[in-house]
Every structure is written in structure tokens, then in C-alpha cells.
Symmetry: D2
Subunit: 285 residues, 4 copies
């Protein structure tokens, strides 16, 4: 079944839900799911609505245009997505392979509504993994001219019509220009439970601090390192029996799970970003 | 802020959400939260809607009556609850004290929107706990005439205007007449992850089977033992280092947490029962 | 560093720990880890001891022979394993690919101390996955003669010098002869939290019972279906928003995690089987 | 059964385990549990050994003295504890009651091998809770002279022969003199997943950062605020539906669970402190 998904936010006030739901009802749509949340602290209204679009009487453009008029009146920020479009993902990696394997295996297994047309790296190490799955692999080492390296990446992303960039343990900081151009379209996995252990070597620092759980955090990349809107986090219990290397091994599963979960939420249009935070609506399937 | 909470269910069809939301909007209510779920497998519509009732233009009765007309038209099953009413709970216990302590401490701590006017037991052991908290304690041992014992309990529940019965490790099976009269108003805690280890001695059986996690299940009591609609479950990781008694000790925390969570969901009117299952809406606060 | 790992069990009595530890000390070994557990309920002694074998003065056979004498005196059941041996795994699958992808990716990523020289199936569907990873794939459909089909599998296992069989969602019941021959060397993943939902269609039955968590269980296969010694279990929280198919999707991650964890425990020689239960020693790395 | 528990640590080297275990065997003790851990990164040896002391041939002093000689030779740091001694706990609180209720209820329920002879606060609010349980309550408001207030507390702790101080949401920073005197004998609960959100108002800051899990950390108090050795941590999943106050409510259960778990580990002599870290041995019962 083809679905149309609307993500909506605005300042909270009376009558919003009724007006929006009424609009779709008046157009004859069957509402499959409606998730609404009001942040009473921020006084902000958030909504995700999923419509049965398999038997539409009007064109997609007509629907979007006519909702646009309502949205202007009500002063809504919104986006509309169609379930039959497959998002195009570029995966950026460095040397660690576990997240790459995990994402590609999930895609092949039909778990992600997405294509992965290319893999980009700053190191040659993972070319063999890309070859195994016959995915084009581009290697741009970071030499003296970091700007030039980034330019090559950004050109490629455009050339391949990429919608979403996934930093699957890509160990380079992106420039503000890059993160700005790709705002809310770059997902990074950080191997710690943010805001704890921002920056480098989180597992070693976790060992030194003697924490009893380690974690991973998936977030949209922003100009400030490890500060962007958090999408998903998880932790795993550890104990004194693990060295820094042991923590790193144990943490891999947590990283894979958290990154995959965040990517899926993005692909299923379940995320609204507000300021530096996300509203992530629950799965219904 | 006083709130009105409507719980609604019916067979799914087009236009339900719009009609219901439109009704409350037309009466001038501010909708604080609206949670809607369609079970696409059962083709059933479920909804919880929370209204700001602090400044109502009409009486409570008028609201309920006028919604009743709409509900008849739309063929809805529904109930309406008011946040300023404190539910009256009777706790039934036998010999184990941990769930009793936990519930009473939570009530004293202001965590439960409820009164606990009495504690009933089939054993005298926990009278000292009741006394500590100055809650009336009634002891009805199960002698030869089990029917007579139950009659005393049911009379007391009526006399104390009880709304909800919580079986906090009450180790007696209730008669079908009792569970029928109190349908969806008796919450039981079973010390296992149902449907595993139904019936007696679940911790010993968990030890014998060598499971790696033990659990607890809170459910509405029904005629068939341990078969009623499940409200909440949780588990805790265990290992070979625990004997049956060790499992029992470790399981206590899980039982307390699960029972308290289920009781809170009931008190906050977040549960809809459908057949032998529950829809439990998430907390928003 | 090469390590020798001894797994030991026997009826509990005084002086065992001292005698065993004393033996290895007298031979000049450095003890890297010593994990000991006494089941006070069963009065049984279990032990795992890891020795630094990188600089041995005696041959491996001499060590095993001289420990054998001590073991006979003390009436120990024991086994000895060497960390430089890579266990040979055969993966058996049917149609679901997620566990297969997960295990192979982990092996390629260096997470498993094992080889995977072949994949066997009763359906042709996953041949393309095997090809992708260039692992030989054998397909033996179950026709009229089930005994003949099993014979072919068992012959292959012998021919490939297989040490461990992993049933990664292999949906065929093995004969008693097969499970007997491969006792404690076949790991199966069951897609439910055993002993709940033994047998077929656990996700549908979980949906129908309205459980609030679903799980997965890895266990050694035994003659009785889903009754063998449990190695690892885990659960994931679910709610009313998931249909039977949704549960199946959500459960995949849990199955992968549980199966991989059990296989690793086996490969790292951290499991002792006693009766129908396992002692699984914690990771230390 | 009375047990003697030895906690031992020292620089790692060959033969330690054998020497220590041999000592107890030579004295004729039955070893109930022996847990040993070598931190290969720090090259440090840690051990917990539990002896059956119900039928001792020598006096407790003789055992400790003769072990002391061995320990001097081997250069061990160690302590010896007897299971029939009930640790004396002083609970310090401010205004939040949930951790106080939880600890007292567990003590009454027989879950803690401890006495709670007094409760101390810097606010009068919780006197009614103390009275309910007939535990002496001392209120020392922090006025102009903070040193004087602390002196009164430290005098009381001495007068009541206190062994362990539990800061159950006591919202005052202790002076270096206090934490030094009570090194490794003050357990504090911090309402965040350290090292994230050290200091004041962690729930508000967690809300502002948009984390997807909140946590709690129990640690020994040290001179530096929220920097002492961590004993136990746990987290709970949250989402956009919770305001700062909602997070605070949801966090209470996590705080109670983590604090109780840390206190139990201390009372059961399962903790060894090394530098700024703890080794917490697993429960065996």
C-alpha cells in the first residue's frame, strides 16, 4: 500500500488537531495512523500523520499544494513523504567495518527502504567489503588540503543524487559548510552515551572513569562536534572484567543497533527536528 | 489542571478521528494529548484523548451526555474519567511484603493518584506493616468455607467504595463470580514472564529449566488463572550463580516495578481492554 | 598469546579448588583467569581456568595426560581447549537470511574465532547470500525420505571436519540420532522466550496473547524440540502498535544478538553443560 | 551459616591464587565461593573468597592474624568480614523521600543485612517519614556556619557507631575533611548517568540536551563532586513525551534501584576499590 506521510510542527494553540485532521478527512483520505504530541514545556505542537494513498482521486502535487494553503494559514512547518520512494544513502567510513557490514546486510535483507549506491572513505581498508557487495567505493585520503577532499565528497553526493549521508564510524570532522548544506540529512554514530565522553577515545575514557555501562548515540551532525540533535541511544552493561579493548568489542553491537535504529527512523519519516532536539515517533507496523 | 480523559474503541473505518476530534473542538475544548492507534490486523480503532477541563463552560454531565449521543451514532465503546478523582484501592496480600511496602510507599510519596483505605489478607503476618502505615487491616483466613471468605472480602470492598483491587502477591485463586463482578478492576502480579511458568512455584521451575532471565507480569484477573489481559511485563538477567531462593530475591524488584507500573497505567486511565489484550498508551507528562 | 582453557565439573567437596589450582601452579603455569562456581542447590562444582600457554616447558599432550591423572583421582569431568585452534562451523538455514548475514559478517569482521567452510539449506533461496561471501552452499530439500536428507547433511559435516553446527533459523526438526551424535555441538535459535511459545509460529502466538515483550532463546539442540540446555536469552519491549508481522521484524535483532552471543560463548569455551542446564562464564578480555 | 569473607588485592604475579587458596585449604576451611579477577591492563589481582565459618577450629582473631602473616609476605591489601555482623547505616536526606522510603522498606523486609539507627537531614520535611518507621531523626539546617553543621553530623555518626553513610538525595556538598574521614564508606546517589550531567539539575539539562535515556549513578563520595568511584549505574528509556518534571518522576525508580543495588553490594562485601574505580563481584546466593 502506498502511503503519504506528513510531518508537521508549529507553536501550540487550540484547534490545530481538528483543523489538520479535518482537512485530510474532507479530501476523502483514510488516516492510517495519527501520532500527535504537544510539548507542554516548549508549548509546541508536533504531528505525524500517515494516509492511505493507494487510491488517490487527486495528484500528489494537488494534495501537497492544497495542504500548503492550509499550512500557510495555520503557520505550520511541514514536509510530505511518499512510501514508494527509496531514499538514496551514501555511507562514509574509515577503518572500522562493523557498522558498514550491518547496514549493508540490513539493506540486502530488505529491512531498509533505501538504496546504497556508494561508499566513501578516507582510507582504502574497507574497499574489499564494498567489493564483496559490489557497491562502488571511493577513497579520498585526507591529505594537506582537507577542503579539497571534502569538495570531492560533496560533488559525489550530488552526482549520485544522495538524500542521506550516514557516517558509519567516519573518523573525520566535517566542515561547517558541509554540515550546513546537509543539515538534518547526515546521521553520525558516536561510540559513547552522549553527552558523556564527547570527542576522541571514548572507550578508553570510559574504562578510566570506571563506568558500569557503555553506550552509543546516533545524532544528526551539526557544526559543533557531537552536539547535534540526538536520534537514538542505547547502553550495554559492562563490568571490571573488560579492558579498554574489551569495551570496544562489546560496544560494537550497541553501535550497530543504535545506528540502524536511527537510520530506520529517518527512512520511515518518523523524526521531526526542533532546535537541537528530535521528536521520534514510535514504529507502528 | 483538571483534565477529562476519554478512552474510546470501535471497529475501524474512515472518518472516526476527524469526527471525534471535531466534536471536542466544537465544544471549545483544548486537546492536551491525543493518542490514536489502529490495529490493522484486528481492524480496530483505539483512542485516548485528554482535555483541559479547568475552565469548562458546561457541566461534566452535559459533556458526557452530549458525547454519549455522538458515541451512539458512531457506535463507540467509551469511558470518561476526571483527573481530580482519587481512585480507591484495596490491596490484597498473603505473606510476602515487598509489593505491599512498595505500593504504600509510592502512595505516601504522592506517586499514585489514589487512596488506599484498606488492606485485606488471608494471613495475619502483614498486619504489622499495615499498622505501621495506619491502614486498616482485615484478616480472613481461608478455612473450610472458601465461598464465605470471599463473600466477606466482597462485602468489604463494597462497604469501602473500592474502585480497584490489587493482588499484591495474594496467593489464593478467586472464584469466577468474583473476577466477573470485578472484571478489568482487579490487577494481579504473577512472578514469572507469562505465558512461561503459569501457576505455582515459578522461580523453582525457572531454576530447573535453566532460563537466563526471569520476569514478572501484571495482568487483569480473569476466570482462568494467569490468563487475563497482560498490562505490563519486565525481566531481569540472571545466571547460574542463583539458586531458586536467589532467583526469588532477585525477582522481587522486578515484581514491584511491574506491578507499580501497571497500577499507575490504570490510575492514569491509559489502558483499554480489548478481548484478552490491552492497549496501554504511553505516559505524557 | 596462546592460552589453554580447562572446563571442569564434579560433585562438590572440600579441597577441590586448592588441588586443581595447585596442580597448575606446580607445573609453572601462569593462571590468567580462574572462574569457579559452586551450585549449592545441586552441590556441584564448576570451574573454568585459563592458562598462559605461550611459553610451555612441556608438550600439550604431556599437560593433558598429567592433568588426566589428577582428574581421575579427583573424579573430575573435564575438557581442554587451545586458543589457537579455529573452530569449524557449519551454518544450517532455511529461508530467513538475517541470522546468516549476521554470523558471516561477524566472522569476516574478526569477531569469531572460527571458520565457516560451508552453508547447508533445505531451500535454494539463500544460495545468493552464500555466493556473495564465496562460501560453498549445499541444498538438500526435504523430500519423501527425510532420513536420506539428514544422512547427506551428516556426511558433509564429517567430510568438512565440522566442530559446531549452528541452526540459524533452520526450520526442520532433527532426528534423535542426529542430536545424539552432535550432543552439545548444535546451537539452535528459537524465536521466542522459552519456555514460552515453544514450537511453531511464536510471533503470531505472542501477538494473540498480548505479551509486552518478545524474546529469543539460543540453546543446544536435544531430542525434544525446544527443550535443550539454554545458553542465552534476551527480550525486546513491544506494544500494541505491532502486528504479528511487526513483531517478527522487531524480533530479528533480538534473534541475531542472542544467537551470536551463544556462538561466541561456545567458541570461547565459556560453557559447561550439566543435565539440561548450562553454566556460562562471563567474558573477560 | 556464618561466613568469613576476604577481599584481597595486589599487583599481579604468578602463584598468587594458589598461595591464597592453599592457605585456606591448609586451615581446613571449606571454600564456598571464590571469585578472582586479573585486570590485565592495570596488571592487578583482585579476589573475593567466602569461607564456611560455622564450625571453626580456631578463633576469628587467630584466623585473621595467621592470614595477616601470609598477606605481609605476599604484599596483599586485604580486609576480612563476618556475615553475622549487621552493618550500621546512617541515611542522610534533604527533601526528596523516594530513596528513603525505598531503603527503609527494604531493611524492614529483611533484604539488607543492616541496621538503620538514625536519619539525618538538613531540612525538617522528612521527619514524618522517620517517625512513621520510628527511626530517630536529626535535623541540622545549614546556616551560616557550614563547618559547625558538619561537625554535628560527624559527632552523631561516631556516637551511633555508624559504619556506612548513605546520601539518599542529600543535596549538600560534603567537605574534604568529611569525605577523607569516611573514605569508601559514604555512598551517594547522583540522578544522572555519570560522567554526563555532573552537578546540579541533571534532569533539566537532560531535557534540554534531548537525550533518549536518563540514568542514575551510585558512587563512593570523594573530595571532588560526582567524581568518586562508581559502584552501580542504570538507565531508563525516555522520549519526547516527557517534560523536565516528567523525567524527574520517571527517574525516581532508577535512582532507588541503583542506590539499593550499590548499598547491597557494600553490605555483602562484594566491592573492592582500586584508585578511582570499583571491582564489584557478582551476587552468588
Amino acid at each position: 500500500m502506498t502511503k503519504a506521510i506528513f510531518l508537521i510542527q508549529c507553536g501550540d494553540r487550540k484547534g490545530l488537531l481538528s483543523a489538520i485532521v479535518g482537512f485530510f478527512a474532507s479530501k476523502g483520505f483514510s488516516i492510517l495512523h495519527c501520532q500527535q504530541h504537544t510539548d507542554s514545556y516548549e508549548k509546541r505542537f508536533f504531528m505525524r500523520i500517515e494516509l492511505d494513498a493507494s487510491d488517490m482521486k487527486i495528484s500528489r502535487k494537488e494534495l501537497e499544494d492544497s495542504f500548503s494553503s492550509v499550512a500557510d494559514e495555520l503557520n505550520l512547518e511541514w514536509s510530505c513523504h511518499w512510501s514508494d520512494y527509496r531514499t538514496r544513502i551514501a555511507i562514509l567510513v574509515s577503518k572500522a567495518s562493523h557498522c558498514l557490514y550491518d547496514l549493508v546486510a540490513r539493506q540486502l535483507d530488505g529491512e531498509l527502504n533505501a538504496e546504497i549506491p556508494l561508499i566513501i572513505s578516507n582510507h582504502p581498508d574497507l574497499e574489499k567489503v564494498a567489493n564483496q557487495f559490489r557497491i562502488p567505493f571511493y577513497c579520498f585520503p585526507v591529505g594537506e588540503d582537507k577542503e579539497e577532499q571534502e569538495k570531492k565528497i560533496r560533488d559525489l553526493l550530488r552526482r549520485f543524487d544522495i538524500d542521506l549521508v550516514v557516517l558509519a564510524r567516519y573518523m573525520q570532522i566535517l566542515s561547517p559548510g558541509f554540515t550546513e548544506e546537509w543539515k538534518d540529512r547526515i546521521i553520525n554514530i558516536h561510540h559513547a552515551f552522549l553527552p558523556a565522553f564527547q570527542g576522541a577515545n571514548p572507550y578508553l575514557r570510559a574504562y578510566q572513569r570506571g563506568v558500569k555501562m557503555i553506550g552509543a548515540t546516533a545524532h544528526y551532525a551539526s557544526e559543533d562536534l557531537d552536539q547535534g540533535p540526538i536520534i537514538e541511544q542505547d547502553v550495554v552493561r559492562v563490568n571490571h572484567e573488560l579492558t579498554p579493548n574489551g569495551l570496544k568489542e562489546v560496544g560494537k553491537d550497541c553501535e550497530k543497533r543504535v545506528l540502524a535504529s536511527a537510520v530506520k527512523a529517518h527512512l520511515e519519516h518518523r523524526i521531526i527536528v526542533y532546535g537541537n532536539k528530535t521528536i521520534v515517533f514510535a514504529v507502528e507496523r
